[in-house]
Every structure is written in C-alpha cells, then in structure tokens.
C-alpha cells in the first residue's frame, strides 16, 4: 500500500481486501518449497517471517542449519515482505486457510492475536525440550499475556545509542567513552555542537523513531504511558520527558530545529550529528556508509531509573495448527534456541541464554552484545487493544512540541483526550 500512485482509487481499500482474500496467504509470499501454507505431512512445518530486509539470509541460515541437522522434520521458510506482513497474516486468518504452522510475530502484536484466540497458548510445549528458563525473563514476559506464554522469544530489540567516534575525538572527548546519564549527555552534546559549521551534538528527530525514544525517556523518568486502565499522557514523567527533549533544541541548542522525516539519520551519516538513537536494524546502514561509529546502551536521560523501550521477535503458533505437528514445532524451537548465533550476525541479540551468554556471542560483532546489555531493564508497550490509535495522537503532540509549534502541556492534554476517546 505504501507505493501508491496517484491514480489510486478510493476503492483500493476494498479492492485490495477482495484481491488479497482471493489470493489468500499466497500473496507476496516468497516460497522456499513447493507448497504454501499448512501442509498435510506432520513432519513438515511452514514458517512465515517478515524478514525481507538484510536480516532474511540470517534466518534462512538458521532454518537451513536445522533442516540439515536432522532427518525427521523439515521447515519450509517463507519470507513475506515486511510492509505486507500483518496484512497477509490477517487475510489468511480471515480466510481461514493457508495459515502457516509457525510465524514470527512482534511482541507488541501478540496481545491482539492472543485476545482473538488466533494464536495458541504455548504453555504445554514447555517441558524437557524447551523451557522458559532458557530465555531471558523479560523476553518471556514480552511474549506472555496475563502470564500465559504465547510466543517463544527470538530476540529483543531495544533502542540503542550510537555515536560518531571521529567527532568525539575532534571535540576533545574520549571516542571510546559514550555518555551514561543526562548530565554527561548534555555536556558531550554541547562540546560536539558547532552551529557555524552546521554541526550538532544530538539531532532530535520529530517523527519516527520517537516511537522508541520518547517512551524510553518516560520509563527512565519512572513513568508509564498507560497505567490503571488509562492513558497517562499528562503525568509529570511524560511532561518532563517532552520538556527535556524540547530543551535540547531551544535551551541547550545541541540540535537544529525543524528536523524532518529521517533528517537526523541524514545528519548522522553526514558526520554532522555526534550522537544518535535508533534501533539495532540500522547497523547495516552505518556499516555500508563507512562511518566510524560506536554503539552502546542508551544513556539514562530520564531522572529516575534505567529503562529502554523495546519490541521483540517471537515464534507463535496459530490456534488452528494440527496437534500432531507440535512435536516438530517444539523440536525446531529447541534447535533455534541453541543455534541462533547467526541471528546475532544481523546486529540483533537473541533472547536465548545459550546464545547471549556464550563467548561466541560477545565476538560476533560490536553491536549485539550492547543490545543484550539492556535486556535486564527493557520495557515493552502496554497490552491494550488498539494501542496504535492511542500512540498516534501522542506522537502528533511530540511532533508539534519538538517543532516549537505548540505548548507542551496543551499538546499533551489534547493527545490525552484524543487517545482516551480512541480507546473507548
């Protein structure tokens, strides 16, 4: 839907629904084997994943490794383009056909699918072959809804901190020493800023990835975006987080104003932003650009505690799956838990202890071990239906305040109202 051209009719929504239903699960699926969707053979399991980016080959490596490691079972790995992923899943669910046996699902989606009884409670799979103890407890929590386990964790991907080592050196800072708290962050940012050269300490984005950055600072302020059945956008922790981000632009002047979509990425790549925060998926782009960068856990920019917003990848099993296949599925999960090192090569950090506690993991690249360092204090989005409709207004408020077009309290009060209305 993203590459819509101008001739796109308003009916496209309904058209696509029909077309995609007609094609069912097959739409956009890159097939590895001959058949798509659930297979009759109980030793054959189909896996769907949205890894159409540079992460795809690493998952394929794991699946190929599994298929070669034993003769009993076979996993048929199918990549669905990321932008089409949940659409494809939803239409397969809707058409009640061609569902995969296993699919990769983001942690923030699990609640919706679990509530609708589309994915299976995996509690009965836990036993000798795999157990929850093999994964980081936060990953298990992220894959659970009301203490019932719905997903087997693959990774946790929190926000990360990146810095430009060359710029640190030029500013007289230790290029191997990233800031760890708000004071250091501001101090370093000021040292790195040279407005005459159009060079800044930390360019504050006004759109994505604020979806990761803003909640991170709120958590670090000891706050929540949602608690006690209500949105908390006007709480002190949220207001303070937004005021802090705004102060980087006007009070400390370590960021230019009016940063547009991806403007902060452009400036980091151009060597005109000393520090940057983004997800682990950016690694390939930094590597390709030849940037001399460092990566570390996000400094504590909030006033109270360590914390970082994260999402995760998990394996889930549709409710509709044949019980006979559960042996094969459990066997595959168990293998991935022990052999997910290849996944770390993509810059991600697998959530299985066998991987992230191993020596090989520490050396696989500089990033993945920094990701895992944050596992102990990651925070996920709340389990609320239609949470997306509540974060929409919040991100609009963040956008307007950071652009200097609205007062912080006024914008957040408006967002609070809109979000509460949308969640009703």
């Amino acid at each position: 839907m993203k590459k819509t051209n101008k001739r796109w009719s308003a009916l496209a929504v309904t058209c696509s629904a029909v077309l995609l239903t007609a094609c069912s699960g097959n739409s956009g699926v890159v097939e590895e084997g001959g058949n798509s969707g659930s297979s009759e053979d109980n030793s054959e399991i189909t896996l769907w994943a949205p890894f159409s980016g540079p992460d795809g080959p690493y998952m394929k490596e794991i699946v190929d490794g599994y298929n070669e490691s034993q003769d009993e079972y076979n996993v048929n790995f199918q990549i669905v383009p990321q932008s089409e992923y949940y659409k494809t899943v939803d239409l397969a669910v809707n058409g009640e056909s061609n569902m995969p046996d296993v699919m990769v699902m983001h942690g923030d989606q699990i609640f919706t699918y679990a509530e609708k009884d589309i994915i299976r409670d995996l509690g009965d799979l836990m036993g000798d072959e795999i157990s929850v103890d093999e994964y980081h407890p936060n990953a298990i929590e992220g894959a659970s809804v009301e203490d019932e386990l719905y997903g087997v964790p693959l990774d946790i991907h929190p926000l990360l901190f990146y810095w430009n080592k060359d710029m640190f050196e030029a500013a007289g800072l230790d290029p191997e020493q990233p800031p760890t708290n708000r004071e250091e962050f501001i101090e370093y940012a000021q040292a790195l800023t040279n407005e005459d050269e159009n060079q800044y300490g930390y360019v504050v984005p006004t759109l994505w990835p604020q979806e990761f950055i803003f909640p991170t600072i709120v958590f670090q302020n000891g706050g929540e975006l949602y608690a006690d059945g209500e949105v908390q956008f006007t709480s002190d922790a949220v207001v303070e987080a937004l005021e802090f981000e705004r102060s980087l632009i006007d009070e400390y002047a370590v960021s230019p104003s009016d940063v547009q979509q991806d403007g902060e990425v452009t400036m980091f790549l151009q060597g005109r932003s000393g520090m940057h925060m983004n997800g682990p998926w950016m690694m390939k782009q930094w590597e390709d650009s030849g940037l001399n960068y460092g990566v570390a856990p996000v400094p504590q920019l909030g006033t109270e505690q360590e914390g970082v917003y994260a999402n995760s990848h998990n394996f889930v099993v549709p409710e509709s799956v044949d019980e006979e296949k559960l042996d094969a599925i459990t066997n595959f999960f168990s293998y991935v838990g022990d052999n997910a090192l290849a996944w770390a090569e993509s810059g991600q950090a697998p959530a299985s202890k066998a991987v992230y506690e191993s020596d090989e993991f520490q050396d696989v690249n500089t990033q993945s071990s920094q990701v895992a360092k944050q596992f102990d204090y990651v925070k996920f989005g709340p389990d609320v239906e239609n949470w997306g409709q509540a974060t929409g207004p919040l991100m609009e408020a963040v956008n307007e305040v950071l652009l200097g077009q609205k007062d912080t309290t006024e914008a957040l009060e408006e967002a609070q109202q809109k979000a509460a209305n949308a969640l009703e």
Partner: protein, 309 residues
Amino acid sequence: MKEAKLPASKAKRERLSKFTSFLFVLPYLLLFLAFLFIPLVYGIYISLHDYNLLSSVQPFIGFENYATIFNPDSAMNSLFFDGLGNTLKFVIFSVPLLVSIGLGLALLLNSLPGKLRTFFRTIYFIPYAISVSVVSIIFLWILDTNSGLLNMYLMDLGFDAIPWLTKQPFAWISLVGATIWWTLGFNMIIFINALNEVSEELYEAGAIDGASAWQKFIHITLPTIRPIMLFVIITSTIASFNVFGQPYLMTRGGPGDSTEVLLMGIVNLAFEERELGVASAMALLMSLIMIVISVIQFKIANRKQGGES
C-alpha cells in the same frame, strides 16, 4: 426481391458489427467487473458489518459504521472529517496549478521549433513515469531543512533556512510542488494534443481582424479546447483527491496532523487497526464525495458552454 434482400443483409451486417464492437469492449468490461464493480459491491457489504479482520464473526450492523462517522463524539468522526479537510485543501491548492501550469507549458512548447519541442516534451513527461516513492525521496533530500540542497542555496544567497516539510504553509507548498513536478507532464501532453486540434484558419481569421495574441487565446484557443479542459480538470481533481504517497512519505502527516490526508487515515484504519468495516464506509463516502464534485464540475462546464452558444 432485390429490395427485400438488401435490408436483411444490412441487418446482418449491423448485428455482426455490434458483436465485433462488443468483443472490443469485453476485455475492459471483464477488468471493470473484476477490479471495480465486484470490489465496490463487496465494499458496500463490508461497510454494513462490524468487520474486524481478525474476529471470527462479522455481525451485520446496518448503517452503524456510517452513524459512527457522523457522530461528533467518536474518534472516527475527527479521523474522517479532519482527513477530508486536509484532502480538500490539497485539491484546492493543487488542481488550479496542475491545470494552468499544464496549459501554460503546452502553449510554451507549442511555440518552440519541432526538435526542441520533442526534447522538452520528453523531459517534462519523464517524472510522470517515476513512482511516488522515488519522487518523495528526491524531494526529501532536496527540501531537508538542515542539509537539503534548496536550503543550502538559499543560505548561500543570504536567506534563512526554510522548514519546507515541518511548518505550514511550507509543508503544503512542498507537497503541491512535488506533485506538480511529478504529474504535470500528463496534463501537458493532453493539452498539447488539444492545441494541435485548434484550426489554423481560426487564428488566421483572427489575425486578419487584428486580434492580439491574448485575444486569440481567450476567444479562439480556450473555447476550442474546453472539452479537453473539462477532462483535465476532472481527472486532476480525482487524482488529487486520491493523494496518499506524497504526504505519507514526505511529511508523515505532519506537522502535527496538518497534512494527514483522508486516505492515510483510511489505510491505517483498515490495515493497522484491522477495522475494515468503518474503513470501507469511509472509502465509500469519499468516493461519493468525489462523484458529486465531478458531476458539479461537469454541470458548471456544460452550463457555460450552453450559455455561450
């Protein structure tokens, strides 16, 4: 006998000719049914149900989805009408420019010598063949407030940097500008063809009567190309109504939600929130509004024509 036979063969020929015509229409008819008519009917069906993609039951709820949209207290109401307002703004800003600049460029190219004309016609038409994602990325780079090409030149000339995509009215100016650069070629080509259809004799007669270039344009060119003008206005309006890719990729609906056009809201509702029922109702209402606007444009144009002749 001869006389009786002639009409028979004529009727046969007519039937054959009708059949051949039908064969020519058939491919379009099939595509129309498959991609427009059936989805439209299905869309109406969906809009009458509480159609969440993931729910196992989609109960029939009559016109409740429509009632929700028109209920001023619901979140759907602001989503629809704020989005519609932004879409209408885009239509009002872009259509007059798309039509007038398209015509201006056609006039300009038509007065160029043959080879140059072909050259420039191609140049102006090429952007139309590019996808919206590419257009948006090009403009994102050109317009970047802090590291874009345009602001770099402006600052070299001693001006302040302009927040092209993060402040109004610049965000609209940028979106309309990008759209004009992207789609202008189409209108231009249509106008060039229309201008070639205007009879030279009329201009000669006008010249003999001592008409100025402007008078020739107003009294000869414009009346002759009126049907084409109407076509261009209506297609430009419909295209602008369907704006999605440019704001989705360039401003993300910002600053705030000021460029969040209706289709962005509908697509989000349908495929992120999975509420196909309300989304379909919105899409149908949007089509209805477009149809009404097109009919009004048609009526106005026809009335003018009737009044003059």
